[in-house]
C-alpha cells in the first residue's frame, strides 16, 4: 500500500496526536477565545477586574447576543491608541527597511565567501539568537545614554561639543530593532543568494552588462523570495515589540505592545487591554497570511 502511515492503528500514535492537540487547544486556542470574550465585556470594579462571563451557559449566551463593543469604540475615540498603532507600523516598517539595507550586503558577502569561511560567518550570524534578547537591548542603554560610551567617545574625539540625546528617542528604538532582528533578515537572504546560479551572472557580464546593472537586473530580482521572507520575519515581531521601546524609547515613542502592557499593568483595565490585543492581531493577520501564502508557494514551486 503506497503512502500508508506508519503504525496507523497504533494507540501510541493516536496519543501522539491527541496529547499535543489537547495541550494546544487548552493553552493556545482557549486562552485566545477568552481574550476575545473579555474584550467585549465591561470593566467592573472587582477582582478579577472583569464581569465574569463564565457563570453559566445562559449568561454567556446572553453576553454574546448583546456584545459590548464599547472598548473598541473607545480605542478609536482616543487618539493615543490610533497613534500607537500607526507609530508601531511606521517604526516597524522603517526598521525593516534599514535591516534590509544592512543585511543584504552582509548576506551577499557571506554567500560569496569560500566554503570554509561561510560556516564560520553563519555561526557568527546565528550566535546572537542564543544570547539573551533582554541583555542585548540593555547593552545599548549603556552605549546610547547621555553620559554613555558613544557620547563619551564622540566628545573625546571632538566631533561634538555637547552630548547627543539619542537614548529615549525614536532613533534609539530603530537602532534597537535593527540590531535585535538583523539575523532574521540575513538568514533567509543568505539562503536564496547562496542558491543563485553563478552562470546567469557570467552570462550577463558576457553580454556586456556592467556589475551594477547585473545586480539590478539579475541578482536583485532573483533574490526577491529571500527579501520577502526576511522583511516579514523582521516586520511581524517588530510591530508587537515591548522591550525595545520600553528600554530605549522615551515616553513619546509609544508602540502598541507597550500601550497594551501599560493598560494592563498600570491602568488595570483588562477588557481594554484585551481589545488592544485583538486589534493588534487583526493588524498582523494580513502580513501573516501573505507571508504564509508566499512561503507555501515557494515551498511547492
Amino acid at each position: 500500500m503506497a503512502g500508508r502511515a506508519v503504525g496507523h492503528s497504533g494507540w501510541g500514535q493516536r496519543l501522539a496526536i491527541l496529547i499535543p492537540y489537547l495541550w494546544l487547544l487548552a493553552f493556545f486556542l482557549a486562552p485566545f477565545l477568552i481574550v476575545l470574550k473579555i474584550s467585549i465585556s465591561t470593566n467592573a470594579i472587582a477582582l478579577p477586574p472583569y464581569v465574569p462571563v463564565w457563570d453559566s451557559v445562559g449568561a454567556a449566551l446572553d453576553h454574546l447576543s448583546t456584545p459590548n463593543l464599547g472598548n473598541y469604540s473607545f480605542l478609536f475615540d482616543d487618539p493615543l491608541y490610533l497613534n500607537s498603532y500607526l507609530n508601531s507600523l511606521k517604526i516597524a516598517a522603517i526598521s525593516t527597511l534599514i535591516a534590509l539595507l544592512i543585511g543584504y550586503p552582509m548576506a551577499y558577502g557571506i554567500a560569496r565567501s569560500s566554503r570554509n569561511w561561510r560556516g564560520a560567518l553563519l555561526t557568527l550570524v546565528i550566535l546572537p539568537f542564543w544570547t539573551s534578547f533582554l541583555i542585548r537591548v540593555y547593552a545599548w542603554v549603556g552605549i546610547l545614554k547621555t553620559e554613555g560610551i558613544l557620547n563619551a567617545f564622540l566628545l573625546w574625539t571632538g566631533v561634538i561639543s555637547e552630548p547627543l540625546q539619542i537614548h529615549f528617542t525614536p532613533t534609539a528604538v530603530y537602532i534597537g530593532i535593527v540590531y535585535s532582528y538583523l539575523p532574521f533578515m540575513i538568514l533567509p537572504l543568505y539562503s536564496t543568494l547562496e542558491k543563485l546560479d553563478e552562470s546567469l551572472l557570467e552570462a550577463a557580464a558576457d553580454l556586456g552588462a556592467r556589475p551594477l546593472t547585473t545586480f539590478w537586473r539579475v541578482t536583485l530580482p532573483l533574490s526577491m523570495p529571500g527579501i520577502a521572507a526576511g522583511c516579514f520575519l523582521v516586520f511581524i515581531p517588530a510591530v508587537g515589540e515591548f522591550v525595545i521601546p520600553e528600554l530605549l524609547g522615551g515616553s513619546s515613542t509609544q508602540m502598541i505592545g507597550r500601550t497594551l502592557w501599560n493598560e494592563f499593568f498600570q491602568n488595570r483595565d483588562w477588557p481594554l487591554a484585551s481589545s488592544v490585543a485583538v486589534l493588534l492581531l487583526l493588524v498582523l493577520v494580513v502580513p501573516i497570511v501573505i507571508f504564509q501564502r508566499y512561503a507555501r508557494r515557494e515551498g511547492t514551486g
Binding site: 496526536i17 481574550v35 552582509m106 542564543w130 533582554l134 542585548r136 494592563f264 490585543a277 498582523l284 504564509q292
Partner: protein, 267 residues
C-alpha cells in the same frame, strides 16, 4: 567558479559584524570595570562578580529561572516530539489543518498577546499564578519550536525503514524507540536546548504569568535596568552570555563530530 566577495561586500560584512558584536563586547568589558560609572574606566576588577555572589535576590531569581527553564523545556520536548512526529508521519487525521495552524501560530504571535491570553485563562480557571503557570506558558510556545525542528528532521528521512521494521513484526512502540527516536535524537537535543534558552530569556510572557514569589531572572534584570545601568547586571549578563556561548559551541562541535562519524560509517 565562485567569485569571492568584492571590496564593498567585505567592508559591509566587517561593519555589520562589528555592529552585531560591539555592544555585547563592550558590556562584557565593562563588567570588569572597577568604577561604578559606566563611562569611566577605573581599572580591571572582579568586584561586581563578588558582589553578585552576595545579592541573594538576584541569585534566587536565577535559580527560579533555571528550574522553570529545565522543567518547561523537558515538557516542551515531549509535547513537541509528539506534535512533530504527528505532522511528519500521519498524513491525515481529523482537524489536521487546525493542528498545524496551532503549531505555527505561536511563533508569529506577539509576546504581549500570548502572555495576556494565558494570564486571563489561568485566572478564569482560578489557577494560582506562580512556578507552574510560567512552566505551562513556556512549554506551550517552546513545544512549537521543537515540533518544527522534529518535523523538518523527520521529513528528511523517508519512512521506509520504519515500515520495514513494522513489516518484520516490530510493534509500533518498538519501531519508535529503536528506529525513529535515534534518527531524530539530534533534533530532540537541539529542541531541548532551544526551549531552555527561550525560557531562560523570556521576560514578557513570564511577567504576565508569574505570581508572587516566582520572579524570574529576566524580570529581576528588567526591573533593575529600568532604574539605570548597574555593573552588577553587566556581570550577570556576562556570565549568561559566557554560558550560552560555551554551550552553543560545544553542542555544534558535538553535532559536527556525530555527523562526520555517521558519514564515515555509511561509507
Amino acid at each position: 567558479m565562485r567569485r569571492g566577495p568584492g571590496l564593498f561586500l567585505k567592508i559591509a560584512m566587517v561593519l555589520g559584524f562589528a555592529f552585531l558584536y560591539a555592544p555585547i563586547l563592550i558590556l562584557m568589558l565593562y563588567s570588569f570595570n572597577a568604577s561604578k560609572l559606566v563611562t569611566v574606566w577605573g581599572g580591571f576588577s572582579t568586584r561586581w562578580y563578588v558582589e553578585l555572589w552576595s545579592n541573594t535576590a538576584l541569585l534566587d531569581a536565577a535559580w527560579i529561572s533555571v528550574t522553570v527553564a529545565a522543567t518547561a523545556s523537558t515538557l516542551a520536548t515531549v509535547l513537541g516530539v509528539m506534535a512533530g512526529y504527528s505532522l511528519a508521519r500521519v498524513p491525515r487525521f481529523l482537524g489536521r489543518t487546525l493542528f498545524s495552524g496551532m503549531v505555527l501560530a505561536p511563533l508569529v504571535m506577539p509576546e504581549v498577546i500570548t502572555g495576556l491570553s494565558l494570564l486571563l485563562a489561568f485566572i478564569s480557571v482560578s489557577l494560582d499564578r506562580g512556578f507552574l503557570t510560567i512552566v505551562f506558558a513556556h512549554a506551550t510556545f517552546s513545544m512549537c519550536y521543537v515540533a518544527i525542528v522534529i518535523q523538518a528532521r523527520l521529513s528528511g528521512f523517508d519512512s521506509s525503514v520504519e515500515e520495514a521494521a513494522e513489516d518484520l513484526g516490530a510493534r509500533p512502540a518498538t519501531v519508535f524507540r529503536r528506529i525513529t527516536l535515534p534518527l531524530i535524537m539530534p533534533g530532540v537535543i537541539s529542541g531541548w536546548l532551544l526551549s531552555f534558552t527561550l525560557s531562560l530569556d523570556d521576560l514578557v510572557i513570564a511577567s504576565f504569568t508569574s505570581g508572587p514569589g516566582s520572579t524570574t531572572l529576566p524580570m529581576k534584570i528588567f526591573s533593575s535596568v529600568r532604574l539605570g545601568v548597574t555593573p552588577e547586571i553587566n556581570a550577570i549578563a556576562t556570565i549568561l552570555i559566557g554560558l550560552v556561548a560555551f554551550g552553543t559551541i560545544f553542542w555544534s562541535l558535538a553535532l559536527k563530530r556525530a555527523e562526520a562519524n555517521r558519514l564515515k560509517a555509511a561509507q
